[in-house]
Structures are given as structure tokens and as C-alpha cells.
């Protein structure tokens, strides 16, 4: 019995669940985009919005997008990882149930209980807002418990992927290819997908443990205000968790580049030592650079901030370089005929790399003094999330929608339009930041409206094109499942 179930699980590799994940991700992405559009329209003064409601939207948009980035990213990773490693789809099911439960709790807490401290729930804001009547204490507890549940789900998923990698390759170190990198072994060289999956498992698990700790402490603080912790330590833990978790979503989704480009061009993506070194470097660095979120905290030890600045420069580079060069090598003179999937993949690489530039600029202490908490910050992360991460997920959706056929099918115009509107939208954040427009303000000064309004128009275009991608996928679901 167990064996029958197991081998069936390997054969279909959890395909139904993957489709369900992507469908959920697609619908939620659209909804959250509309929330984002509403925020931009309100800042533009084109619609009137109760500021309190703006902060609720901000909270839901932030946590919703981060959660869904992880859900979509993990769908990509699981789909391709399960071709190399035996994974049990039950973990996908458990995670999705916990995820839905957590989302319901968060929505209830925010829209009915009024909880709105932004997705970073920075300590001691949840308790402060409760005690001064901005929101009900129960809503803080409910929201954070929802966050905990979602974390538990992703923890189970990570452990299952980790188990699979350990069983197939003999340890996470070998999943990262250390035996090849350090001992020159040529046995069981992990393919790029396994390397990326191993990195994700390591950093996400560590992030989730720290996250669970600080969320639990914050809940206790809401319930028993006398239990006050050091806000700076709390902030460190929150950003260790938040920074690492959201970064890992890109490392999950980038697997689609490693798997699809070779299929489209007919050229393999080989695991080189440089590739392995790049991923190992990024694995360690992504864990230690989070202090770039604390550059304004003068009480932080100088050395921590120095690490935050210096390693932020270097952190993304190894993986970016090995991915970018690898992709270029595959594409160069491949005679590829572009269509929507390959164009989206290329946009994703561009968006990721280009988005890192303003991020690195902001991780410079002297710049951060000026740019911190301006629109520059949403500018850089929307750059690589909207134009880096999402195109990877959309490309994967459309690829499945075509029955995984890699012949060119056209449609690249929609991808280019998405890029155009996306760039316009992101540029307005960056320009606003350049002009010192603060982030997270419901109401803007008249001088700032020009960027807000152009951004709102651009956002409409982004939403329309994202709808085209998602609906194309949703309409094909019956066929995807039949051909499974």
C-alpha cells in the first residue's frame, strides 16, 4: 500500500497540487495588485480613502505578496526538483491547507480587527497599536498566529525537500556540490535545480526558526505588555527572517530559468565549479547581510553595519553572475526564436539584475541616510519582484499552459508590454525616492502627485497584462490536468 502510493506520488510529482498552487498564486497576485493600484490611486488623490484603510491595504498587500511569492516560487521549485529527487506531495497539501488557514486569519485580523502595522509587524508596534486603540489586541494575536501557521507550512515543505535532497545526494553539503567544489569529485554532481533547492532549504529553514521565535515573543508582548524585549534585537530577528524569506523566493523561482532555457535552446545547463561556488557564497551571505535594513539604527554595532554594507554589495552577485553568464552562454548564437515564455525569462533575468542595482545603492550607509524609508525602497524591491520574480512565475504558468511544449508560440508582445508598464511603474517609485518622497504614507503632498499619478496609470497596464497571463493559465487548467 505504502509503496503503491509512493511510486504514484513520484510519477505525477504532485502535479495537481502544483497547478492548485499556481492557480492560487495567480488569483492572489491579481487581487494584491489591485490593492496596490488602489493605494497608488489614493496617493494620487484620484480616489478618497480613509488613511486607516490605506494602512490595512499596505499590510495585506505586503504580507500577501510575500506569502504568494513563496507559494508561487515553491511551486516552480517543487515541480523541477521532484524530477531529480523523490518528494512526497503530501507536504504540498499540508502546506496549502495551513497557508489558506493563515491567510484567512490575517485577512480577518486586518480588515475586521483593523490590524495594520505593515507586513514587518515591527516590535513593539503590534502591542502599541493595541493599547492605544488603533486596533483590537485580538487582531494582533490573530494576525501573528496566522503568520505562524503559514511559517509552519513552509517549514514542513522545506524539511521534505531537504529530506529528499539528503536521501538522493547524501547530505545538503553534497546538494550544494561541496564534494565537487572542494574534493574534485565527479560523482553525483547536483544539477542546478538541486543546488538552488538546497540553498533554499537551508536559508528558509533558518529564517523560519528565527521568525517563529520573534513572532511568538511579539504575541506574548501583546498579551502581557510587561514582557518587554529589546526592540533592536527584535528588529534584527524580524529582518533576518523577512529579508531571508523574501530573497529565497527568487532563488526558488530562478530554477525555471535553469530548466527551461536549456529545453528551449536544446543546450544543457551544466553545473560548473564556478556555478557551485557562486551558490555556496550566496547561501552564506544572504544570511548575514540583513543588517542593511538597520543602517539607521545607531545603536547597532558598527561591525554589523559594515558587514551589512560590504556583503550586500557582494551577496547577490555570485548567483546573479553565474545565472546571467550561464544564460548568455546558452542563448548566444542559439538561433532561439523568441516567444512569450522565453521573453518573460529574459525579462526576469534583466529585472532581477537591474533591480539589485538600486538595492545595492541603498545598502550604502551614506546613501541610506538620505534614502532610507523613501519610495526608493519600494522602488528597488518592486523592480526585482515585479520584473524579476513574477515573470519567472508567469513563464512557468504559460509553459504548463502549453503542455510543456517548448516550440515558439508567439505572444512576446504581451511580455514586452508587461516590461514597459512595469518599468514605468517602478521608475515612479525610484523617482519619488530620488525626490525624498517618504514610503508608507497614506497622504502625499501636492508636489509628489505627479509620480503617483503616472505610477497609477502604469499599474493599470501591469494589472491588465498580468490578468492576461493568469487567465490564460487558468483557462488551460483542465487540459493541463488531463494531459498530466
Amino acid at each position: 500500500m505504502a509503496d503503491a502510493r509512493t511510486s504514484a506520488g513520484i510519477a505525477d510529482r504532485g502535479r495537481t497540487w502544483i497547478v492548485l498552487y499556481l492557480a492560487t498564486a495567480g488569483v492572489v497576485i491579481l487581487l494584491m495588485m489591485v490593492f496596490g493600484l488602489v493605494m497608488r490611486l489614493a496617493q494620487s488623490e484620484w480616489i478618497a480613502l480613509d488613511p486607516a484603510f490605506y494602512y490595512q491595504l499596505l499590510t495585506v498587500h505586503g504580507i500577501g505578496m510575500v506569502g504568494i511569492a513563496a507559494l508561487g516560487g515553491v511551486a516552480v521549485l517543487w515541480h523541477y526538483l521532484s524530477a531529480h529527487v523523490a518528494l512526497r506531495p503530501a507536504a504540498l497539501a499540508i502546506n496549502l491547507v495551513l497557508f489558506m488557514l493563515g491567510v484567512a486569519m490575517i485577512l480577518w485580523a486586518v480588515f475586521i480587527g483593523g490590524f495594520a502595522p505593515a507586513w514587518t509587524f515591527l516590535y513593539p508596534l503590534p502591542a502599541v497599536g493595541s493599547s492605544n486603540g488603533q486596533w483590537q489586541a485580538w487582531s494582533a494575536v490573530l494576525d501573528l498566529t496566522g503568520v505562524l501557521l503559514i511559517g509552519v507550512g513552509f517549514l514542513i515543505l522545506c524539511l521534505e525537500m531537504g529530506r529528499g535532497i539528503v536521501a538522493a545526494y547524501g547530505g545538503l553539503g553534497r546538494g550544494l556540490g561541496w564534494h565537487v567544489l572542494f574534493a574534485g569529485s565527479k560523482e553525483k554532481v547536483p544539477p542546478p535545480t538541486v543546488v538552488a533547492g538546497t540553498m533554499v532549504v537551508i536559508v528558509t529553514t533558518l529564517a523560519l526558526i528565527a521568525g517563529a521565535t520573534i513572532v511568538a515573543m511579539t504575541i506574548l508582548n501583546v498579551l502581557f505588555p510587561a514582557l518587554a524585549i529589546d526592540p533592536l534585537i527584535a528588529k534584527n530577528m524580524i529582518y533576518f527572517f523577512g529579508h531571508t524569506f523574501i530573497n529565497a523566493t527568487i532563488y526558488m523561482a530562478v530554477v525555471v530559468v535553469y530548466e527551461l532555457l536549456p529545453r528551449i535552446t536544446g543546450r544543457p545547463w551544466k553545473t560548473s565549479k564556478v556555478f557551485l561556488a557562486g551558490w555556496t557564497l550566496s547561501t552564506t551571505m544572504v544570511l548575514v547581510i540583513y543588517p542593511h535594513h538597520l543602517l539607521m539604527d545607531f545603536a547597532m554595532p558598527g561591525w554589523a553595519l559594515a558587514i551589512g554594507q560590504v556583503l550586500s554589495y557582494v551577496n547577490s552577485l555570485p548567483v546573479l553572475v553565474v545565472t546571467g553568464l550561464g544564460a548568455l552562454a546558452i542563448l548566444h548564437r542559439s538561433g532561439i526564436s523568441w516567444d512569450v515564455v522565453s521573453t518573460l525569462l529574459l525579462i526576469a533575468m534583466f529585472g532581477w539584475m537591474a533591480g539589485v542595482i538600486p538595492a545595492v545603492v541603498d545598502a550604502t550607509i551614506s546613501v541610506n541616510y538620505v534614502m532610507h524609508n523613501t519610495m526608493w525602497v519600494p522602488g528597488h524591491f518592486h523592480f526585482y519582484l515585479l520584473l524579476g520574480l513574477l515573470p519567472m512565475i508567469f513563464a512557468f504558468m504559460l509553459h504548463l499552459a502549453r503542455g510543456e511544449d517548448v516550440a515558439a508560440h508567439g505572444g512576446d508582445l504581451s511580455a514586452l508590454l508587461y516590461l514597459g508598464f512595469g518599468l514605468g511603474f517602478v521608475a515612479m517609485f525610484l523617482l519619488g525616492g530620488w525626490a525624498s518622497v517618504p514610503r508608507r504614507w497614506a497622504v502625499h503632498l501636492p508636489e509628489w502627485l505627479v509620480w503617483d499619478r503616472i505610477a497609477a496609470v502604469m499599474a493599470v497596464g501591469v494589472v491588465v497584462l498580468a490578468t492576461v497571463f493568469v487567465v490564460t493559465f487558468l483557462l488551460r487548467i483542465p487540459r493541463i490536468l488531463r494531459h498530466g
Binding site: 509503496d3 509512493t6 524539511l159 529528499g164 537551508i202 526558526i209
Partner: protein, 217 residues
């Protein structure tokens, strides 16, 4: 080591914790009380529980046993009951019995029955819980135990934080080195149930399917 010898080993560990001079020494300070005495009592039970589980595969019991064991352990960690066990010999006796049989035994049994995912899930949660407990002990303004001084409480907090770090670091190093694969292989050979590797999946070795099977009834 044979199973009955393991059971004796477990009993020996418990007895060590109960020896009057040892118990007095450990209970003199809060950190040793919580970080040494209680683990000795539960640990003795756990050794026996793990020995009992040998040759009796029952994967479905793993999660409930671990949960029951953790709940019992958690109960006796409540400061009010730490005080009570010091004040009343009857409570201390009940605590010893329940730590051995209701915490240690199911924990050892459940751990032996659990697959790698459940084990790591337990460790991850244990690390977060230890960190939360340690943090509370460090920041709470009042004394939690009547029987111990505030300084002891702070030391216990530090100890719990260190323990959380050790759990995370230990599990991470083991996973990097592939420790759980050795476990899976060990279980597979112990049960000597050959399983087919998946046909279209070259890297899916016996180890994997054994790892999967071991968690299923």
C-alpha cells in the same frame, strides 16, 4: 546494545538523577534543575522508550507520542510546578514518574518511530520554543520561581538560548553532512524490507523509498 540492556541504562540514568546528593546538588540552582535534572529523568525514560521501539515499527504513533511527551515536559517546566516539586515530596514523586513514563518514554519511542521530516520538525520547533523560553526568563521583570533568585533565572535564560543555538547548529551540521541518510539506511536494513527504486528515477535509491516507507504504516 540489546534492548533490555538499554532499558537498564535508562533506569540507571533515572536513578542517578534521584540519588539524594545528586538531586540536592542539581536542585540547588535553577539552571541545573531545569537543564540537568529534568533532562536526566526524561532522558532515562527516552532511552528505554527508544529501546522498546526497536523491532516494533509503528510510524503512525510517532507524532502523537512526541506531542504527548512534549506536553508533559512542558507542564513540568511551568515555574509553579518547579516550586511545587521542591516544596512537596509527593509532587516530586509524581513528577519523577510522569517525566520518566509520560515524557521520556513517549519521546524516545516517538523519536525512534519518526522519519527524518518529523524529527527535524520537532527539532526546529524545540529550538524556537527554547529560544522563547530563554528570552522570557531573561526579560521578565519578576521572579518566576519563588524558590530561586533572579540571577538564577537570568542564567537559565542564557542557558536555554545557548541550548536553542546548539540544537539548530547540530541539526544543520548533521543535515549538511547527510546524517539522516545514515538513519534511513539503518532503519531499512533493520527491517530488511527490500523496496524497488522508482523506474524512471535513477537517483531515487532504496534509501529514499525506505525513508518514505518508514513514515507510513
Amino acid at each position: 546494545m540489546r534492548a533490555d540492556r538499554k532499558a537498564w541504562l535508562g533506569a540507571g540514568i533515572v536513578a542517578l538523577g534521584l540519588l539524594p546528593p545528586v538531586a540536592d546538588l542539581l536542585q540547588a540552582r535553577l539552571p541545573t534543575h531545569v537543564l540537568v535534572l529534568l533532562p536526566l529523568l526524561a532522558g532515562g525514560g527516552a532511552v528505554a522508550g527508544a529501546a522498546l521501539a526497536r523491532g516494533r515499527p509503528a510510524g503512525w504513533t510517532a507524532a502523537p507520542s512526541l506531542l504527548a511527551g512534549a506536553a508533559t515536559l512542558g507542564f513540568w517546566l511551568i515555574p509553579r510546578w518547579i516550586d511545587a516539586a521542591l516544596a512537596a515530596p509527593a509532587v516530586a514523586a509524581v513528577r519523577t514518574a510522569s517525566l520518566v513514563f509520560l515524557a521520556g518514554l513517549p519521546l524516545g519511542w516517538g523519536w525512534a518511530q519518526a522519519g527524518p521530516v518529523l524529527r527535524l520538525f520537532v527539532l526546529a520547533n524545540a529550538a524556537a520554543m527554547l529560544a522563547v523560553m530563554g528570552w522570557i526568563e531573561l526579560v521578565v521583570p519578576a521572579r518566576l520561581c519563588n524558590s530561586y533568585l533572579l540571577a538564577d533565572q537570568r542564567n537559565l535564560g542564557l542557558g536555554l538560548l545557548v541550548l536553542a543555538g546548539v540544537v539548530v547548529a547540530g541539526a544543520a551540521l548533521r543535515a549538511l553532512a547527510g546524517g539522516d541518510q545514515a538513519d534511513a539506511t539503518e532503519r531499512a536494513t533493520r527491517r530488511a524490507s527490500p523496496r524497488m527504486a522508482s523506474p524512471q528515477e535513477p537517483s531515487a535509491t532504496n534509501t529514499i523509498t525506505a525513508g518514505i516507507g518508514s513514515r507510513k504504516p
